[in-house]
């Protein structure tokens, strides 16, 4: 029993140390990875890049031409329209389109997706706004809905189900062939938006429905999607130009949109976006969509025109943290790192990151030798400490500290 209790203590110490020591290491030695800002210029029809290298910032285009700050801003007039207006350098028109700030702003949008948006605890309850209240402002409803075996509305004040409303909406969904329960419910659950478009709901058969409430009545519309297509994430948007309801990310690693009113599912001509470990940023303006996929070690910017046809692609990669000098040193110190949080996941869990290669073996052998000397100094029998030697060899610094915090003097 005493040996069992000791090994248990060693296990929890190794776990704690493999969280804390690497954390302290990165806290002390991690350097920022300069990820450049890249956007397509509607003036020059090429990519503009702003970044920094060795502590010096630069502005250039994809051909390596360097620019001053003012020149750079003039290459991206739609992004910097306010600045150009102040400095009176905004051209009257670009590509034959008059530079009216209202028009420019209406076409501008920004969408951002992180894997931790998808991999997160979901509320399960959502407010169903009145889409056609006739009021200028949206109001927070008194009830919240869930979709399990039916679409239930729960009155918050009484914490009771509103059976009439539940029956009304459940009936409407059933009418459209909705298969309960819902797998995904995505909308914009806030009153701070220009108007309400309800929710996009994926049912148990992976069908996609648009559900909202108009004057107290359910509005349901099924979206036609190709057979076999399953969505991993739906990101609803509230853009001024009202061209589409949402961005969707499929299992097939494609990005789609659903157009407003006619529910047409359109695939964006962007290759391979992995929603599990890449971030997505989509900037749109009057002429282009800049679809930026950002991974740990590369970025890929796909530029689409206003019809969402592919124009150009920019790709830039850099060294991962583990391949940089501080990562190399790390690989000589620790065989693994344990995290409770993960950049790509909002859940708290044990995330193991094994160190690539076997550089750490050198330190492990040194520590093994040190432990050998400690045991020898105690004049203990080596054969009673074989398990400890194994622990030190496998877990290195973590195990070495652990077996000496809880020394095996009992079995000397």
């Amino acid at each position: 029993m005493k040996n069992l209790s000791r090994y248990n203590l060693i296990v929890i110490s190794i776990i704690s140390l493999s969280v804390i020591l690497p954390w302290i290491y990165w806290l002390s030695f991690e350097k920022p990875i300069p990820k450049p800002f890249v956007m397509y210029s509607c003036v020059d029809d090429c990519f503009m890049i702003r970044g920094s290298e060795n502590g010096k910032s630069y502005r250039m285009n994809e051909h390596g031409e360097m620019f001053t700050r003012e020149e750079f801003e003039q290459k991206l007039p739609l992004l910097n329209i306010r600045q150009l207006m102040i400095s009176r350098t905004l051209p009257d028109s670009i590509k034959g389109v008059e530079m009216d700030p209202h028009v420019v702003n209406k076409a501008r949008s920004f969408y951002r997706y992180k894997p931790s948006t998808k991999n997160a605890p979901k509320p399960g309850l959502y407010p169903m706004f009145e889409s056609e209240s006739g009021r200028a402002k949206l109001e927070m409803p008194e009830d919240f809905f869930r979709i399990n075996s039916r679409m239930e509305f729960i009155d918050a004040d009484r914490n009771k189900i509103n059976e009439a409303k539940t029956a009304l909406f459940t009936g409407a969904l059933q009418h459209f062939g909705f298969k309960f329960p819902a797998k995904m419910i995505e909308g914009i659950p806030t009153t701070r938006k220009s108007c309400d478009e309800g929710y996009f709901v994926v049912d148990n058969a992976d069908q996609v429905f648009h559900v909202k409430m108009e004057q107290g009545q359910p509005y349901v519309q099924q979206v036609e999607i190709p057979k076999g297509l399953i969505f991993k994430h739906i990101g609803c948007v509230d853009f001024r130009n009202k061209l589409f309801y949402c961005y969707l990310i499929g299992h097939d690693h494609n990005i789609y949109i659903i157009t407003q009113d006619d529910y047409y599912l359109k695939r964006l001509p962007v290759d391979e976006f992995n929603p599990e470990n890449q971030q997505l940023r989509i900037y749109s303006d009057l002429f282009n969509y800049n679809v930026i996929a950002l991974a740990e070690d590369f970025m890929k910017v796909t530029v689409l025109d206003d019809n969402m046809e592919k124009v150009d692609v920019f790709y830039k990669s850099w060294k991962k943290r583990s391949e940089r000098p501080e990562g190399k040193v790390f690989s000589y110190l620790f065989p693994l790192q344990l995290n409770l949080v993960d950049e790509n996941n909002a859940f708290i869990n044990f995330y193991f990151h094994l160190t690539k290669g076997f550089n750490w073996i050198i330190l492990h052998i040194v520590l093994l030798g040190s432990h050998f000397l400690i045991i020898r100094k105690r004049k203990a029998k080596l054969k009673n400490h074989i398990v400890d030697f194994g622990i030190v060899l496998v877990s290195g610094l973590f195990g070495f500290l652990a077996v000496n915090i809880f020394p095996n003097k009992l079995n000397d």
Partner: protein, 222 residues
């Protein structure tokens, strides 16, 4: 013998345990009085909305309460055993030493679990009264590791207090200070879902910790 052992442990921890149970109930009552007040002033839908979408933890004040109760009961139970090395008396009882220790540990652990269970159930009932089960379940998932942290701290206090050598007491305290925060990482409401079971298993692992330092005591480490 078990009855006598329960009696002794109960004498040591009873006042602290009863105080802690009442304190916990007061804190839970206070939290839900706040909920009631917010509902009265802002409306229930706003309170629900804040929890569901703005990640507002109405029960955040509870975070360190189980931890403090666990440490307190551990100290109340094991500290009197180390004054003048009274643990020798326990080892001299006509029982196998580990059995005597396990009895002590079980009594303390069961008292602690019952206190936690009381708090957990009261929280559950009140939450169920005010909120839909989605909110209640996410809340319970969030507070579970806090209760586990108290249990883990209780086990580690036993280890630390019974250790005969000061140097190692301090080292154990370091190890405990590294381990217990794993239970208390902040996250979204409900984010602890995947890790609760691994954390519970680790808690089970350290439940017998005190056997280690007690054995060192018995073998005359100093």
């Amino acid at each position: 013998m078990l009855k006598s052992m329960i009696y002794k442990e109960w004498l040591k921890i009873r006042w602290f345990l009863i105080g802690a149970a009442i304190l916990g109930l007061f804190i839970i009552a206070y939290m839900f009085m706040n909920v009631q007040r917010s509902i009265t002033f802002q409306g229930a839908n706003a309170v629900w909305y804040n929890i569901l979408f703005l990640n507002k933890m109405i029960f955040g004040i509870m975070k360190y309460v189980p931890l403090l109760i666990g440490i307190g009961i551990g100290v109340a139970q094991y500290f009197p055993e180390t004054v003048n090395k009274r643990i020798k008396l326990t080892f001299h009882l006509p029982l196998f030493e580990n059995r005597a220790l396990m009895m002590m540990l079980s009594v303390g652990m069961i008292c602690l679990l019952l206190t936690y269970l009381l708090h957990f159930m009261v929280f559950w009932m009140l939450s169920n009264y005010y909120f839909a089960h989605e909110i209640t379940v996410a809340s319970l998932i969030t507070i579970t590791p806090w209760f586990l942290s108290g249990l883990a701290a209780y086990f580690l206090v036993g280890l630390i207090v019974l250790e005969p050598v000061w140097k190692y007491r301090i080292l154990y305290a370091f190890a405990a200070a590294m381990f217990v925060p794993l239970y208390l990482k902040s996250g979204m409401i409900g984010a602890y879902g995947p890790i609760n079971i691994p954390l519970a298993l680790l808690t089970v692992l350290i439940s017998v910790s005190l056997l280690f330092s007690a054995y060192r005591f018995r073998k005359g480490e100093m």
